[in-house]
């Protein structure tokens, strides 16, 4: 079986085009940078024939050429992907095989973008995102990973090999090496991005690692937000003693060196004492409280609706909450098996709890700051005059008006959480060593970095693109919400 090259047969004619375009682009960018030091600022220039030009001359030409080349580069990349999807396996090399594998993701992305752009005027802030190039790029990067993770984790598509299985003979092999014992030229015949030190497929582990990260990071950030909002709103609204106490607690946690906190919390000894379970019980009650207060405040004047809604919603959430904290092998084991919906292993739970615990104070501070600002507005005064209860005002008047900065911070914070998870993996805390999450794989791969870079560089790039996408998305959202 032949090893795969990076671009295969398609590459023989597409690669030169790529080099040409990329090379010209590089030359153009350098020229632009150099010339920008000598160029005049943009002014309107009237030409002899009555037209008006914004930028003329050599610099203007170079600018337009660079724009065109960027577009050409995008087209070439798109061609690679299309070629990979269309040609049979191996025709377009490693890049083509990966593109083919990721077909569900491409379709999902295309559909999402098409639908969103078609209805963008009716979709509020999310729709406005699609007016902003930076935001769209960020959104595309993030949803690429989200879709890949969901398709891989839930539907078992995309990955070519089991992330945990070790195949003798593939230890540290370079990308494109054929798997011994497979003769047909189908998916699974090669390790697309090579093998790691334990002969596992790097590509499959990268996608599976994405599933682990996508499961933990957004959810942990959401919980942190719940805690931060439930505590930050009253602190900002009431002020006074409540504010002093809560701010002191928040500062206390923020003053903790994060890594020290992880070492203290995320060890097998601590899990045995049951402290993470207690912390989980406390922290995970906040979403339940949030929804309880939210719905109660909303339907306070309509008891007929309030009763059933509360019972249903709180019933479901309560069940989920109890299943979450009831864990055989820990101090909470009160749920009978038939009622216990799911079990999370102790290691993941303690990672979750630590990440939520570390992020909550910052969210608290942000929410508190925003609340201080918004509670002076007129509509809040109007609501107070109307006689609305304080929680109604906090949750249904103040919070919706704070959603802009909060959404932006949410996106950024998912990025920080992803980085934090990687830090945990770097120190060997938390998730099991077999877990394909990106922090652990980077840590395991860095030993042999000088000879076999691919096991560490691939998850590093994955982490980089996801966090970059989140940052760009947050930037785009911020720009659009400020344009309101």
């Amino acid at each position: 079986m032949e090893p795969l090259t990076w671009t295969g047969a398609v590459g023989t004619w597409l690669d030169p085009v790529l080099w040409l375009v990329a090379g010209s682009l590089a030359v153009g960018v350098v020229a632009m940078i150099v010339m920008s030091f000598f160029a005049a600022p943009v002014t309107l220039q009237a030409n002899a024939d009555g037209t008006v030009m914004a930028r003329g001359g050599a610099f203007g030409f170079v600018e337009r050429a660079v724009q065109a080349l960027v577009l050409a580069l995008c087209v070439v990349v798109l061609l690679y992907i299309l070629a990979g999807i269309v040609t049979p396996y191996g025709g377009a090399g490693i890049v083509g095989a990966m593109a083919k594998r990721l077909l569900p993701t491409w379709i999902a992305l295309a559909l999402t973008f098409a639908v969103s752009i078609a209805f963008k005027r009716r979709l509020g802030l999310y729709g406005k995102l699609f007016d902003n190039v930076i935001g769209m790029i960020g959104f595309a990067l993030v949803m690429f990973w989200v879709f890949s993770a969901i398709f891989a984790g839930v539907f078992d598509m995309i990955v070519t090999h089991d992330p945990l299985s070790q195949v003798s003979g593939m230890k540290n092999e370079v990308p494109g090496t054929p798997v011994p014992g497979v003769d047909a030229m189908t998916m699974g015949a090669h390790y697309l991005l090579g093998g790691d030190a334990l002969a596992r497929d790097v590509f499959s582990r990268m996608i599976a690692g994405g599933w682990v990260v996508i499961q933990i990071a957004p959810l942990a950030t959401l919980f942190a937000f719940m805690v931060g909002i439930v505590l930050g709103l009253p602190a900002g609204y009431y002020g006074g003693k409540l504010d002093i106490v809560l701010s002191f607690l928040a500062n206390l946690i923020l003053a903790f060196p994060v890594i020290l906190l992880f070492y203290l919390l995320v060890t097998p000894e601590i899990v045995a004492t049951g402290i993470p379970s207690i912390m989980a019980a406390v922290l995970f009650v906040f979403p339940v409280v949030f929804f309880a207060v939210l719905l109660n405040a909303r339907f306070h004047t309509r008891p007929g609706v309030r009763g059933p809604v509360l019972i249903v919603v709180l019933g479901i959430m309560g069940l989920i909450y109890l299943s979450l904290i009831s864990q055989p092998g820990t101090i909470f084991t009160f749920m009978p098996r038939w009622l216990d919906l799911f079990d999370i292993s102790g290691g993941i739970l303690v990672v979750f709890v630590s990440v939520v615990f570390v992020n909550a104070p910052t969210v608290f501070r942000i929410v508190r700051g925003i609340t201080f600002d918004i509670k002076t507005r007129d509509y809040v005064a109007a609501a107070q005059t109307r006689g609305e209860g304080p929680w109604y005002i906090m949750l249904w008047e103040i919070l919706p008006n704070a959603r802009g900065p909060l959404i932006v911070d949410f996106c950024l914070r998912i990025g920080y959480t992803t980085i934090l998870l990687g830090t945990l993996g770097f120190f060997g805390l938390g998730l099991s060593t077999e877990s394909p999450d990106w922090g652990s794989t980077i840590n395991q791969g860095r030993g042999l970095l000088s000879v076999f870079p691919h096991p560490a560089v691939v998850p590093a790039l994955a982490l980089l693109t996801l966090v970059l996408g989140l940052n760009l998305l947050a930037d785009g959202l911020r720009e659009e919400s400020l344009r309101d």
């Binding site: 003053a255 903790f256 060196p257 830090t423 770097f426 120190f427 560490a456 989140l470």
Partner: protein, 357 residues
Amino acid sequence: MLRFLAGRIFTMLVTALCLTFIVFFLTNLPPNLEKVAKSELGARISDADVESWLGRNGYADPMIIRYGQWLGVVPGWTRTDAEDGRRFGRCLPDNGLAAVPPGASEMPPPTFCGVLQGDWGFSTVFRRDVGEVVLRGLALTGKLMFWVTVVMIPGALIIGVLAGMREGSRLDRSLSTVSIVSTATPEYVSGVVFIALLTPTVFGYRLFNGSATTAMEDATFYNFTLPVVTIALYGMGYIARMTRASMTEVMTAQYIRTARLKGVTFGNIVMKHALRNALIAPFTVIMLQFPWLLNGVVIVETLFNYKGFGWTLVEAAGNNDIELLLGVSVVSVLVVLVTQLISDIGYVFLNPRIRIS
């Protein structure tokens, strides 16, 4: 002002107390104490022996009493061996890990030996006084952070100002993208990539060293650049973006427009009018970044084998060295809170509108 300062210092002390008590509580849980006993005696002692060793060495007292001993408000535990009269005690050499033979010294040991008396305890990992270990770590990390600051702050400010002075320009877009990429690259990613790219020997020449251990004694360009740049790069992005935001806000102010209408050149506008106002916010941001840089220091020191404060923290935490961990926690808390205080005071001083009002 003085009342403000006094209030903040009081809060700082209370925070430090609470934090160290939490650390004390977590490190003195029974499973962790068992770890301490076994690392002193050897791995194969029985549980009964663990209990008796802990009892004999002052670990059986209630948690709050032991915390008081560490603080220095409660007398340290003592014990005299019935058989040979040797004395053990917290206030004796090496925290009681080394016995004092009977009659060895005529001076009675001090009754109180805690933080208030200046005795920070004895490190079981490094076999030295905690004060010595922490100071050594701080000195080394101080050297690292000094160079990080020298590289990071001017770089970030320059990037931020250049990006912010013409919002939306090509320069702004490209510099912003660079800053965003650098905030998306945590130290363990950038450090790993740098080591992979820049340390191998190519054609007999090597650009940089991948190990900073000799930098502890003699920091040169070759062994110190990579650690400094790895930390600086991560911090630079965020500070640059904050500077850019502040700069764009200032550049759209009315007085800048007036200056342009007056005919002041662009360079003079930036240097003489915009900069002073734009740099107020980044100053506070820089101060508030220090706690996050401490995180990065831990990772980088582990990656490059530089045995500073961050590495000491990891060693202490990994081996449950209680006294050293408490000392390290106190120092970390103080660093965080002092930088916050400087940031708040600085903000007041730098902004004439607030200072004068």
